[in-house]
Symmetry: C2
Subunit: 124 residues, 2 copies
Amino acid sequence: MTARNTKAKAMILESLKRSKAVTSHETLQKALKGKADRATIYRVLNRFCDDGIVHKIVGDDGKQYFAVCVNCQGKKHNHNHFHFRCLGCGKVECLAGEVGFKLPKGYRSENFNGFISGYCALCS
Amino acid sequence: MTARNTKAKAMILESLKRSKAVTSHETLQKALKGKADRATIYRVLNRFCDDGIVHKIVGDDGKQYFAVCVNCQGKKHNHNHFHFRCLGCGKVECLAGEVGFKLPKGYRSENFNGFISGYCALCS
DNA sequence: TGTATTATTGCGACTAAGTCGCATTAAAGT
DNA sequence: ACTTTAATGCGACTTAGTCGCAATAATACA
């Protein structure tokens, strides 16, 4: 069960890194222009997620978005920041700044998903 | 184009109010046990949303959840609070406390969707 | 109360996102 | 090279949500 370095993985990772914005499956598929299968892209993305290379965010449109992890050392992810989707141009990006929150007693948090949509500076 | 008070609307609103938790379409449909059509439920919920009676949240499972508005006077909604979904029992609830965030210059926020999942006190 | 108007419902068909099984392909170890 | 098996590609499938349209039932008004 040792992971292999395949063309698909390489292409997808490169594509993710190149785009500074957060990327959806759809965008990625267009970028790869048929060089990888739909299902493969999904699988690779989920793989990257499990491996802690990228993190997944669910948009307020119900779709999945992916972004390369920046300051997540080892297995400990910290993605407690908001993501912003522009309703004009569709771009999704990470917003700077940790978000604090507190849960009721006895609650344990597993996943944080902060999403804000609106209009970016260019589309306002 | 004047709204009408129908049985479906009444049932759905009552069902929403009765359950203190945030409700998904699926749960609602089960609660109504066939007394309203799938599409109708969706339409009514979206209608309620537009009318400002309930607010819609998109979960980190990509599904829509609905909750009756509590302190939203008139058209001005303020739902800048987090929602919590228990991975054990599946319950979704509103967390107390306004959430503050700041956007980059020139950005305008239209919708806030804060979602945290994990385990509630009972399921921990 | 009876009738006309039209918002709403129910049904079925449809779309889009995402997953899964399986045969085929191609990394990696020898 | 040759073998092993992870990963790919393809198609079928699932589930959430939407849409068109004919039938139904709230409202308004006579």
